[in-house]
Structures are given as C-alpha cells and as structure tokens.
Symmetry: C2
C-alpha cells in the first residue's frame, strides 16, 4: 500500500525539503501542509508552536501518512520532542538532527548557525552539537530578513548581497569552517553565501540531509513504497490561501503546485 | 473624565501613529494593542483580519476607550467598514482616509502608493482617491520587504537603499508627484525615500495626518480630555510577548515601553 509521507512547515520554506525528498525518493508520495494562516512561526512562543504543530500532525495522520517530516526549523526546535511523545507510533523526522549529526562528524573548526529569531533563541543546534562533542566552538545569529528576501525573490541581488554581509561580516562569523543554514528558506542563498566565504567555509543546508535520513528511516521500518506501478502523488495544503504562496512556491519547489485550503483551528 | 483612546495594529507598526498622537495630543491617554500573535496581517484574508480586528476593538471598548484608531493599513483596508457597522456608537478612525483626503486635495500629478500585499491587493487607496477625483493618475506596488527591513533596524543601510531602488526605480514610480507610504512601518524610510526622489516627490505618511484627524473628531464629539491635572498614561498590550517586539518598539515609538500580554482567542 502506498501511504504518503506527511511534511509540514509554517509556510513555503519546507518546500525546499519536499523538493529534496521528491528528488531522492521519486517513488514516494507526500502530503505537504503549509500553515500560512499562522506563518511565520519564527517570532512565536513554544506553546503556540506546539499547539499548531500538534493540530497539523493530527491532520496528516488522519490522511494516513506513514511518517512525518517537520520541515520547519522553528517547529523542529520547539515542538519535535512534544510531537514524538504524543505520536509515538509514527516515525518523526526533524530538520535539525540530520544536520547536527553531519556537522559534528565532518567539521574541524568553528561552526556558525543562522536561522529565525525563535530557532536561534531556542539554542537547539548549539545544544545538540555540544551534546555530541562539548569541545566544538559554535556561534549563532538570527537573520530573519533573509526569509523576506527569499519570499520576495530578491536572492542574487544587491539586497541579498548586502544583507548577507550585514549579518555575517563580523568577527564571530568571518572565520567559520561550517555554516549551518538553520531555516528551510535559506538553501536559496547557498551560492551567495558560498561566494561571501570565497569557498573557505562549507555551507550546510538541511534538505538533502533530511531526505537521506528519511530514506534510512523508511528502510528501518520497512515503509518504503514497493508499489512502483502507480506514479507518486503530491498534495499541497495551506491553512490560508494567499496569492503570495502560489507565486513564491515555484521558487522553492521548482515546479508549479496546486493548493487546497484546510483550516485546522 | 479621562477615558483613553484605543489604538491597534497587527504589531509594532502602529506605534508610529501612537507616537504622533502623543506628540499632537499630549494630554490624551491611550491603550495600544499589537496583535503580535497574528502578525503580520499583510498576507491574510479579509475574513481573518475582520475577525481579529473585531476581537481587539471589543477588548479596547471593554477598557473604556472613547475612540478607536485602526493604526494598521491592512486592517483599515479590510476591516474598517465592518468595525464601523458593528461598533457604530464610538468614533472610529482609520489610517487611509486622512491620507487620501490630503493627497487628493494637494497633489497635482501622478500618485504612487506602496504598502503590504493585502493593502495593495485591496486597492483601497486607489478606489478612495478615484471616488474623490476620477481623473487622478494612480500607481501602486506591494513592497513587503520594507516591513522586515524596518523591524530589523536596517533602515539607512545599503540594504534599505537597494530595496527602495528595487521597488521604485521603474517607469511607473520614477516620476510620481506624491508617494503615499501605505504602511505604518514606512515612516522610518521617509528621508531615504525623499533622497531617492531627490526631493522631487512629496512623501506622504499617515501618522501626523491621522493624529490631526483624531484631534478634529475628538473636538466634534466633545471628547477631548479636559482633566489636564493628571498626566496622560500609555498602556501597551500584545497578544503574544516576543523578545523582538520590545527591542523593535523603541525605534517605532521613540521611547521605551512596558508590555502586557493579553490573548484574545
């Protein structure tokens, strides 16, 4: 039986993760939920984000999803433990752990992290990195304007170049060995941030690492789709249809998508 | 009796209006409500914005407010008529009408409007301007990134300069006679936008015009505070306390503020 994977985010950002899953696991169907009614999560409290994440996960499980991908750094930081506890019988993947594991193993030098205000304030990346190796040197910074720049399609402009400079051209961040893009919007800045570092830092984004982790977990649980006759299907829900989502979504997912609206609360 | 004025916005933006009211009417107290739990309004639907605006207005009236200022362009565009109908016994001021009246009377040439996606999509400024004079030439554009730039305190940087250029350096906007700043965040860009136009366009923002309108309406209704012995008081509520609000608020209001949290729904 070809059950879908459930993927959710506060908005469009998680589509970068959805795109990586489609690329690595083309035989898997998925249902994507973008909580546009409540976006952005980046400035909201732990309680609020846990409430929204729980409602979405419940909805995705009602749609018979076989695994849940929290494709949002803020929800991964603030709601993952809660969701794992509440929905303990379904594999749950967040976007933080695959990146933390990769970086802790592969980086020899200072590690930088950028993300939304809530993700950075949660300290989730730093905490998890130091749990693995308490000698790691870690710096972090909230870079919320990059979200707006990505959504306005102003990447690869003087605006994005100066914003990257404003955020990263300082003592803390100048000589990092790895920079973690701790927001699912930020893969759109990958090449620009590489240029800023002139290739001297490794820029680590989550989509491919998350897709890879998902693939392993599906294998471990015997959940890979074996019915490869039927083409995979992709469903996209938002909690509020906005003109902006559709036009932005193309940049993030790399293909046109058709939206359905579903209000959860 | 010194009843307060009620002022609300989706977040911090309306504080520019609150500051202008404090400046023009120092004897008047006010209660400010920033709906940070639901911010930003700029990408939400009419129904959603009407629901939130109604709950906030009800709360402000429960606090005995004698007049309501909708210090948010999106709510002014999408919820003003509804609120006026629902709460017909209290003077209600929006941020659009004072600006429209001023510009229609004083501008001889093309009028430009910038604002959030929802404000621009509503067409409210254009509609109201053409109702007064259907020969006016009006162009409009959504400039949502300016909201993020103001909230990050990146005004007067290369980022703001390039964003203004990206939005305004085109055939439609190059030769406007007046530019309406149709978002309560945008007064923070006043001088930069003036520089962009090299002084050749009048940049019209709402705070002073709204404070002036409020003053007239208080006079008309005999509602001015006459008890000038007691100092005016300013109360600030948010629907969700976020670290960001307090630090940002200073730039918008021009003074430190103490926040109370009040969840309405």
């Amino acid at each position: 039986m070809a059950k879908p994977i459930g993927i959710f985010d506060s908005g469009v950002g998680g589509l970068t993760v959805a795109a990586a899953i489609k690329e690595l696991l083309p035989e898997e169907s998925f249902i994507y939920f973008g909580d546009t009614r409540h976006a952005p999560y980046g400035d909201k409290s732990r309680d609020t984000i846990q409430k929204y994440s729980t409602e979405i996960t419940r909805f995705l499980l009602e749609q018979d999803c076989k695994a849940i991908v929290i494709a949002c750094n803020t929800a991964s930081a603030l709601a993952y433990e809660k969701l794992k506890e509440k929905f303990s019988d379904v594999p749950m993947i967040n976007v933080v752990d695959p990146v933390v594991d990769y970086v802790a193993e592969n980086t020899h030098g200072k590690i930088g992290i950028i993300g939304t205000r809530a993700t950075i304030k949660s300290g989730i990346y730093k905490k998890k990195l130091l749990e693995i190796n308490n000698k790691l040197k870690v710096v972090s910074k909230a870079t919320p304007l990059l979200v707006g720049i990505a959504e306005e399609d102003f990447t690869h402009t003087e605006i994005s170049r100066h914003a990257i400079k404003q955020y990263l051209d300082n003592k803390d961040f100048k000589n990092v060995a790895s920079l973690i893009l701790g927001c699912t919007h930020f893969p759109l800045f990958q090449t620009e941030i590489e240029s800023f570092y002139q290739g001297k830092a490794e820029i680590v984004d989550s989509p491919e690492l998350v897709a890879d982790r998902l693939s392993h977990i599906l294998s471990d649980h015997g959940l890979h789709n074996k019915d490869q006759e039927k083409e995979a299907s992709y469903d996209f829900y938002v909690s509020e249809k906005t003109g902006a989502f559709s036009s932005i979504a193309r940049n993030f997912f790399g293909a046109d998508i058709r939206l359905k609206e579903k209000v959860l609360s």
